[in-house]
């Protein structure tokens, strides 16, 4: 069957891999800590796409439950991560990760 009638699972996996890679590149190249946190969210969401795709194609609901838990962890991560950025800004007056060298020797 041609791909324009039916979408194979690989299409979703490739989309997920592409989005995950964009997130990794974002973490590597950006200096702003908030945008690094957003890139981490991009990566978590990319994984969610793969999980939902497996769930729908294999007819197994557990992938979607895992997405639910990933979202809860992402919410916790965003709250703690942003609190760290706030505390960092309060002590260092910057959110640019290359200007922070407290633990460098």
């Amino acid at each position: 069957m041609h791909w324009s009638q039916q979408l194979p699972l690989e299409a979703y996996l490739l989309l997920s891999a592409t989005l995950f890679t964009i997130g990794v590149v974002g973490v590597l190249v950006r200096r702003n800590a908030i945008i690094i946190l957003m890139s981490i969210e991009i990566m978590l969401n990319a994984v969610n796409v793969a999980l939902v795709a497996f769930s729908a194609y294999l007819g197994n609901i557990e992938g979607q439950l895992l997405v639910f838990f990933v979202m809860a962890v992402a919410a916790a991560e965003a709250a703690v991560g942003l609190a760290i950025v706030l505390a960092l800004f309060r002590t260092q007056q910057t959110v640019y990760v290359d200007e922070i060298n407290l633990m460098k020797w």
Binding site: Y12, V49, V80
Partner: protein, 170 residues
């Protein structure tokens, strides 16, 4: 062309485009707004997979709650100085982009050479995506992880409050 393919191409291209916009915008507020668009695109992708419940909580939790928190923190930080927003050019950018493109190409070759054999949605997919189906599994087989998540969220709230307090030695 089948509707699923058309919507997948639309939302997939939108998701990749908005994700690229998030990591390339200079201003964090612009990044945050592109991030909202990215979450909405992914909600569309979930709908092409018949996962209605996940699509709705994607919009509610991510676009609604997490991004509001991010924009709020950007506002608190008051990064008003436009000179500071400029990203210095760095050879790391070229290297990271090249490695990322290589990784995607490698995965593309892998998926093309070794098909998984799953060519269409499971006939069960439409039933699995409903709130009823997810809720009935979540509150029976997955009750313990569900309760554990509530503890995780509680500790995250406590941690965030302690970290964000004005004085560390309160």
């Amino acid at each position: 062309m089948a509707l699923q393919v058309l919507l997948f191409l639309l939302f997939g291209a939108g998701a990749v485009g908005t994700a690229l916009a998030v990591i390339t915008r200079r201003n964090p507020v612009a990044s945050a707004l592109w991030m909202v668009a990215y979450f909405l695109m992914l909600a569309g992708i979930y709908l092409t997979l018949q996962a209605q419940f996940i699509a709705i909580i994607q919009v509610l939790i991510y676009a609604g709650a997490i991004m509001v928190l991010m924009v709020f923190v950007i506002m608190l930080l008051n990064l008003g100085n436009p000179e500071q927003l400029r990203e210095r050019f760095n050879p790391r950018v070229v290297l990271a982009t090249a490695l990322g493109a290589l990784l995607v190409l490698q995965l593309l070759l892998y998926f093309v050479s070794r098909p998984t054999g799953f060519r269409q949605l499971s006939p069960e997919a439409a039933r699995l995506g409903t709130t009823e189906a997810i809720g009935s599994v979540l509150f029976t087989d997955y009750l313990f992880p569900f309760e554990a998540v509530s503890l995780l969220l509680l500790s995250a709230v406590i941690g965030a409050v302690i970290l964000a307090k004005r004085k560390l030695e309160g």
